[in-house]
């Protein structure tokens, strides 16, 4: 049973990987940016866990800025994704430039 589970996990991982490669490059860039932001936030949390929460302001600003920019990037990804049909009528502006402009302003 262990062998099958590990084989299942490998199969699962391979299928995900192949599906992911199909996404367009734009979206991959945005994904990479999100991963980078989250990692930075995680490292800061680990530092805080090690040395204590003084000064608390710095910890909060660091973590929340990373998390915030990650969230905004995720919103951008949703709006830019062409396969996301249900979102089309929800955007304020329909064209790509407008979406990118909104992202920039938000950041």
């Amino acid at each position: 049973m262990v062998k099958s589970t590990s084989k299942d996990a490998q199969d699962l991982f391979r299928s995900l990987h192949s599906a992911y490669s199909a996404t367009p490059t734009n979206l991959k860039i945005i994904d990479l940016y999100v991963v980078f932001a989250v990692f930075t936030a995680l490292i800061q949390v680990a530092y805080m866990a090690l040395v204590g929460s003084f000064p608390f302001n710095s910890f909060l600003s660091g973590v929340l800025s990373c998390v915030g920019t990650a969230v905004l990037a995720v919103c951008l990804r949703i709006q830019v994704n062409k396969e996301n049909k249900e979102f089309k009528h929800k955007t304020v502006v329909t064209n790509l430039r407008g979406i990118v402009a909104m992202f920039v302003i938000a950041v």
Binding site: L32, F36, F54
Partner: protein, 684 residues
């Protein structure tokens, strides 16, 4: 005016204080001379008026203080100016001439002719007493100071009569014929004026006129006032000192000017001298001048010169056995002629005389009379010595006068012997002695007693004078001082042969505030006649008193030691906020590195994904704006880094606003270029 009134009040207060005591007058001494320097020498060397200058210089001259070199320059200038100007008032001319007489600014043959004519005209036309005074006295001064003048008054008798017309029947004089106001001060001025007229007259003035003046003088003496201690004075609106001085000046100059002599009652002259000596040292310049000038007139006059008996010390010490010294001198302190001094009586406090008719011996070196032997029954205490002066009348040129009897209070002091001093603790009712100690009051004893509240403390001693009589001291106190500094004082009363104090602790318990414990005992015995007054710490007594009930008063708070209150206080140690514990530096640096890692991974991932900048515009215009745009963004990021590192918010915001405006323009250009390019692509 306020100052003069105040000075007069103080002087009269001083005189009232003196009149109740049988006081001894002292002649003018060096303390007067040093005070005169303070009063009469001005700080800047010049006087406010010639009158002030004259008063100051005359006083200094009488006292024998030579300050002429310091003061003459400024004053002489003033004198010469006044004498030279034709419009000076009579009063200024008079005082200028007076000052000139002392300082000798102008002398010899240099006669100021216009001054003389002004004075003569003034004498002829005068109607007021003061005008007569200034002009006549001025002419007298001119005659004294400048030789070669032949000054005579034209119609001397007429002037004499017109001055005489201002006199009154009670001996006083009026200032003018219109004004009915009269004063004794004016009488003095009138006498001086009349003396001047007599001396300037070319021929003898009618004796009957002079006689009327003399009767007037005797009438004036009826208004003489007296104090209890035998001093006489004239009173007036100018104050007793000024008025009396003016009269004395007038009398001396009148007596000097005429030949038949003036007979004035001698005791009154002595009384007047004592009045001036009794003033002491006046603080006011005018009073000082009047005092000194009057005494100088009394010192050397034609009627009678008073002699003053004074004692340098009025205490006789029986232990030291020094003689009692007596001095006789004139009022200004000059030598008296040969005379004898006798102690008529020495009255003790009971009124009986212990010494009678004792002649005093004379010591020529110090010019003092002394009494060196006292009788065997001369004990300590207070005495009144009555001295009489015996003048050798025939041998003198001048007529000297003294007091009939001079009463002097004398204190005799001696060593009092203290005997049978003992302290005892008694049991209350029975009166039996529990503990008794003999005391040696000359040493601080270490007597140690103890008592409870049912017992009594008895202190007794005997004081005897050198003659063996019982002595009652002025002060005999016993002080009990508790450890807590609370003190109680009790009087030791003398009755019969001994002095005794009995403290009944039962009655004193409340007074002692129920404080038990160790009390220090201190005995004080003192008296003016006792040369060996003592304060001795006898020792201690332990008192055992009952507990304090609630209602009883608390002992008074003792004053705290001032040094402990104002001394340095304990040092304050400040507690500062403990700084937060920071992590180790290396750890922080490691994590800084770790943070940078995801960023690098992001960049590597981007290149792996094939990010390129192919659609970077190639044309020059678009390229520059695009470059500028990206450059601007980079600058903003750099600004953030600088803000983190060292800038403050305000500079950062300023720079950011500038960069923002710049980026706005450049960004807009870049975007429009991009839009144009994409439109071109779409249309193409």
């Amino acid at each position: 005016m306020m100052a003069r009134g105040l000075a007069r009040f103080l002087v009269s207060l001083l005189l009232v204080a003196i009149c109740n005591a049988a006081s001894v007058s002292q002649p003018i001494s060096d303390s007067h001379r040093s005070a005169a320097l303070d009063v009469f020498v001005p700080l800047d060397g010049s006087y406010k008026s010639l009158e002030e200058a004259y008063e100051a210089l005359r006083s200094l001259e009488i006292l024998g203080i030579d300050k002429k070199s310091d003061l003459s320059s400024g004053t002489c200038e003033n004198v010469v100016k006044v004498l030279g100007s034709p419009s000076s008032a009579l009063k200024d001319v008079f005082y200028a001439l007076s000052v000139n007489g002392i300082l000798k600014c102008k002398s010899g043959d240099d006669v100021p002719k216009d001054v003389v004519s002004k004075l003569q005209a003034g004498a002829k036309d005068a109607k007021l007493l003061l005008d007569f005074y200034y002009s006549i006295r001025g002419l007298v001064l001119v005659k004294e100071q400048f030789s070669g003048t032949d000054l005579t008054l034209g119609d001397a008798e007429a002037i004499f009569r017109s001055v005489k017309a201002l006199s009154q029947s009670d001996g006083r004089w009026r200032y003018s014929s219109n004004n009915a106001e009269s004063s004794t001060f004016a009488a003095g001025l009138a006498f001086e004026t009349l003396a001047g007229v007599i001396s300037l007259a070319p021929s003898e003035i009618d004796q009957s006129l002079i006689q009327t003046v003399k009767t007037g003088i005797l009438k004036l003496f009826d208004s003489l006032r007296k104090y209890d201690d035998g001093t006489f004075y004239f009173d007036g609106s100018e104050g007793p000192i000024s008025t009396t001085a003016s009269v004395i000046r007038g009398l001396t100059s009148f007596a000097a000017s005429e030949s038949t002599g003036l007979n004035l009652p001698g005791d009154k002259i002595v009384g007047l001298a004592k009045f001036f000596l009794g003033v002491g040292i006046p603080g006011d310049a005018k009073d000082f001048f009047n005092q000194i000038d009057a005494l100088a007139s009394l010192e050397d006059n034609r009627f009678s010169v008073p002699l003053i008996l004074s004692l340098p010390s009025t205490v006789i010490s029986l232990t030291k056995k020094e003689p009692l010294k007596v001095k006789v001198s004139t009022v200004l302190g000059s030598k008296a002629p040969a005379l004898g001094v006798k102690l008529a009586q020495a009255l003790n406090s009971k009124g009986s005389s212990v010494i009678n008719n004792q002649e005093l011996k004379f010591d020529a070196d110090s010019a003092t009379y002394f009494l060196d032997s006292f009788p065997k029954n001369f004990d300590v205490g207070k005495y009144t010595f009555v001295f009489e002066i015996l003048l050798d009348e025939s041998a003198n040129e001048k007529a000297y006068i003294t007091e009939a009897q001079t009463k002097v209070p004398i204190a005799a002091t001696g060593a009092i012997s203290i005997e049978n001093a003992e302290i005892a603790v008694l049991d209350s009712d029975v009166g039996s002695v529990e503990s008794q100690k003999k005391l040696d009051l000359t040493k601080d004893g270490g007597v140690s007693l103890s008592a409870n509240h049912l017992q009594k403390l008895r202190l007794s001693f005997q004081l005897t004078t050198p003659l063996g009589l019982v002595f009652k001291p002025h002060q005999a106190f016993l002080k009990l001082k508790h450890e807590s500094q609370v003190e109680h004082i009790f009087l030791v009363k003398t009755s019969g042969k001994k002095a005794e104090l009995v403290l009944d602790f039962l009655g004193l318990v409340e007074k002692l505030y129920y404080l038990s414990g160790k009390y220090e005992i201190q005995l004080t015995i003192g008296d003016a006649s006792m040369e060996n007054s003592l304060l001795s710490n006898i020792g201690h007594i332990e008192l055992d008193l009952p507990e304090r009930p609630e209602k009883a008063p608390l002992p008074p708070l003792q004053p705290t030691d001032p040094y402990s209150r104002y001394g340095p206080k304990a040092e304050i140690s400040h507690i500062f906020r403990i700084p937060e514990k920071l992590p180790a530096k290396q750890l922080s640096l490691i994590f800084l590195g770790l943070i940078v890692l995801p960023f690098i991974a992001f960049l590597i991932g981007l290149t792996r994904l094939g990010v390129n900048i192919k659609s970077f515009p190639s044309s020059v215009g678009a390229a520059t704006s695009a470059l500028l745009f990206h450059g601007g963004i980079g600058a903003v990021l750099l600004l953030y880094v600088l803000f983190w590192l060292k800038l403050d918010l305000f500079t950062t915001l300023k720079a950011l606003s500038l960069l923002g405006v710049f980026l706005l323009f450049v960004g807009h250009r870049t975007l429009s270029n991009l839009a144009a390019a994409s439109n071109k692509l779409k249309s193409a």
